[in-house]
């Protein structure tokens, strides 16, 4: 009993502390500060773009993992989940080595298009997507595996091509899984810190997202940091509430 309660306190106390120390009286004013709004806007935009990016690439990847068999599928599956356990900073360094100005691909991008990703908003999106994609892929793959594949067979006997069957039958069936995966992916992207600061830097208005702003504010204006943290906490609670049917309601 005691360790259980201790565990609960350990998890809840910091959040409670955040609420207790929050400068409620000046909250509205601080929220309206251009820097805060700028960081918030940037965070929302990049997290949403990163989620879109993950959906475009992650759903087909999940489909491939769930519905096809090819040699090395298990290895691919393991590789997809690496960013889940990899320290985000390492992810940022890895991105820098590949897409940086002197990176393997970045070098070519620079010379061919005069285009460089690090320390840009696009770089933020990439860093967030790199870290958040596994959440989406795993969620969608699970949904695809759970969906009865024979519905696709039934569609085929009715004259549906593979693509029609996927679009009109499979996709609607796994829509809840995709939604859950996307929400999770978005929340992870919103909170991304390590990979973002390593790969995209910390330029207000361009690459300074909320978590970065929190970190920076903590040294200069602790109260601003608390306010920003509260906003992120509120977003987390909303995400959790939207997924409550799947995650919170246990057996």
């Amino acid at each position: 009993m005691v360790p259980a309660v201790a565990g609960l306190v350990f998890l809840v106390l910091p959040l409670a502390g955040l609420l207790v120390r929050a400068p409620w009286s000046t909250l509205a004013g601080r929220l309206a500060e251009p820097q805060v709004l700028e960081a918030l806007r940037l965070s929302l935009v990049t997290a949403s773009l990163a989620t879109l990016f993950c959906l475009l690439l992650g759903v087909p990847l999940a489909w491939m993992l769930a519905r096809t068999s090819f040699p090395g599928r298990r290895v691919v599956r393991a590789l997809v989940t690496v960013p889940l356990v990899l320290p985000p900073v390492v992810g940022g360094v890895a991105l820098l080595l590949v897409l940086g100005r002197r990176g393997l691909v970045g070098q070519w991008l620079e010379s061919a298009f005069g285009f460089s990703l690090p320390f840009t908003t696009a770089g933020v999106v990439l860093a967030e997507a790199f870290v958040a994609m596994p959440f989406l892929v795993i969620s969608v793959e699970g949904a695809l595996r759970a969906a009865d594949q024979r519905f696709e067979e039934a569609a085929a006997t009715l004259g549906a091509s593979r693509w029609t069957a996927f679009r009109r039958v499979t996709l609607p069936l796994v829509a809840p899984g995709i939604t859950a995966g996307a929400v999770l992916c978005w929340a992870r992207a919103l909170g991304e810190f390590g990979a973002t600061i390593t790969f995209a830097g910390n330029f207000p208005g361009r690459t300074q997202t909320m978590p970065l702003a929190v970190y920076l504010a903590l040294e200069t204006e602790p109260e601003a940091a608390i306010v920003l943290s509260l906003v992120l906490l509120a977003v987390s609670v909303i995400v959790l509430a939207s997924l409550r049917d799947r995650w919170v309601s246990g057996p």
């Binding site: 067979e153 039934a154 085929a156 006997t157 009715l158 091509s161 009109r168 039958v169 069936l173």
Partner: protein, 398 residues
């Protein structure tokens, strides 16, 4: 013939190899125990399972060369597989849409079909709101709405409860009668097969063991499985004129007629064509049968010699219904034809009667009245005399 198929599908430890034909408007039932390969055959026709070899010709088209979505087929799955996110109407409209109809056209076709199956009122319902019988009718409408030339039904009534089954069966029969293409249906239920199909193809272990009309199959079963389905005792023997010698079963266990007199058994259903004709199969000539002493002996690997009505020489099958078997506590007087001693192996209720399973030289099932059970004290292990009326035994070439 509109459909000619030879289907060979090989998998680890299993080989399906069947060939059959279906005429326009004809309904053929693939009947067989679980795991016999019936559903595999149906999936191969649909293009959902690849053929190892063989061919499928439908009205001159080589169906095996085209993918499932291009075949002119309609399929009703065992659990229907109605798309759960679409209304009944959109489920039925799905096929026409895939075949290039506009949304409006497809919906018009779909509502016409829903009307034909009597479900116009449920057009907007999602599948989970439909009863089993309604879902079955939507599945049938969905399969027929694409105007198939080959209709495939996989255990179309298996998911229904007994009461609904009765209604849906007769309704399905009506719809099948109105369909001018070829129909292949798969079932393990002989009643469904006999009511719905014009012809039966019995499959066991991936091969065809018997085919013919319901009446033929019911009257002349050729395997233990078929005999069990149609509720007959079946033996293989050697005929010399009107006597048939049946070898004793090695170590007479209760494997053939004693097990599996479950729901699949048809003798309780009097309405079945074929079974009803069995009792009249003998005819009046039976009195001339020879009296055989050999048949009197009990057990001991001797076998049984039967007197039958038909005259044959060589290997034959002998079949008779359990109702043709009489049991006696002591050796009956009079003609000792088709008489032997056996031991009771099991007793169970069977409709209004009691079915008694008997060991002995040949395992046999007998239907007796509850009164006889009480009178003769028929309990397992008890020795009895078994006699079978020659007029009700039916012999035919093996």
């Amino acid at each position: 013939m509109t459909l000619r198929a030879r289907l060979v599908v090989e998998r680890a430890g299993f080989r399906l190899d069947v060939g059959f034909e279906v005429a326009p408007g004809e309904v053929v039932a693939l009947l067989g125990p679980n795991g016999a390969g019936k559903t595999t055959a149906l999936r191969a026709l649909a293009g959902l399972t690849a053929l190892t070899s063989g061919h499928i010709d439908l009205e001159g088209r080589a169906l095996h060369e085209i993918p499932a979505e291009s075949r002119p087929i309609g399929m009703v799955f065992q659990d229907y597989l109605l798309f759960p996110h679409l209304s009944a109407l959109d489920n039925v409209a799905f096929g026409p849409r895939c075949h290039g109809a506009s949304k409006v056209e497809a919906r018009r076709t779909a509502s016409a079909w829903l009307e034909r199956v009597g479900l116009s009122a449920h057009a907007g319902s999602r599948p989970r709101r439909l009863s089993g019988g309604q879902a079955q009718r939507v599945a049938l409408a969905r399969a027929l709405a694409v105007g198939p030339r080959l209709l495939l039904l996989d255990e179309p009534l298996a998911a229904l409860d007994a009461h609904t089954r009765l209604d849906v069966r007769s309704e399905l029969r009506r719809h099948l009668a109105g369909f001018d293409g070829a129909t292949v249906l798969v079932t393990h239920d002989p009643l469904d097969a006999m009511v719905l199909a014009d012809r039966l193809v019995v499959i066991e272990n991936g091969s065809i063991v018997q085919e013919g009309t319901s009446v033929e199959v019911a009257r002349r079963p050729r395997t233990d499985y078929v005999a069990r389905l149609v509720g007959l005792n079946l033996y293989r023997g050697i005929a010399t004129g009107r006597t048939v010698t049946i070898e004793a079963t090695a170590g007479t266990t209760n494997d053939t007629t004693t097990n599996d007199t479950t729901t699949a058994d048809m003798t309780s259903a009097d309405t079945i064509p074929g079974v009803g004709t069995l009792s009249s199969g003998g005819g009046p000539g039976a009195g001339t049968a020879d009296v055989e002493d050999g048949g009197v002996e009990a057990g001991g690997g001797e076998g049984v010699v039967f007197s039958v009505v038909e005259r044959f020489d060589g290997p034959v099958f002998v079949a008779f219904p359990p109702s043709a078997v009489a049991l006696y506590g002591t050796r009956p007087n009079g003609t000792p034809r088709n008489l032997w001693r056996a031991r009771i192996d099991g007793v169970e209720r069977h409709g209004d009667n009691v079915r008694v399973h008997l060991d002995g030289p040949i395992p046999v099932a007998a239907d007796v009245t509850p009164a006889a059970v009480a009178e003769l004290d028929l309990v397992p292990g008890k020795p009895v005399w078994v006699s079978v009326k020659a007029t009700e035994t039916h012999a035919y070439p093996a």
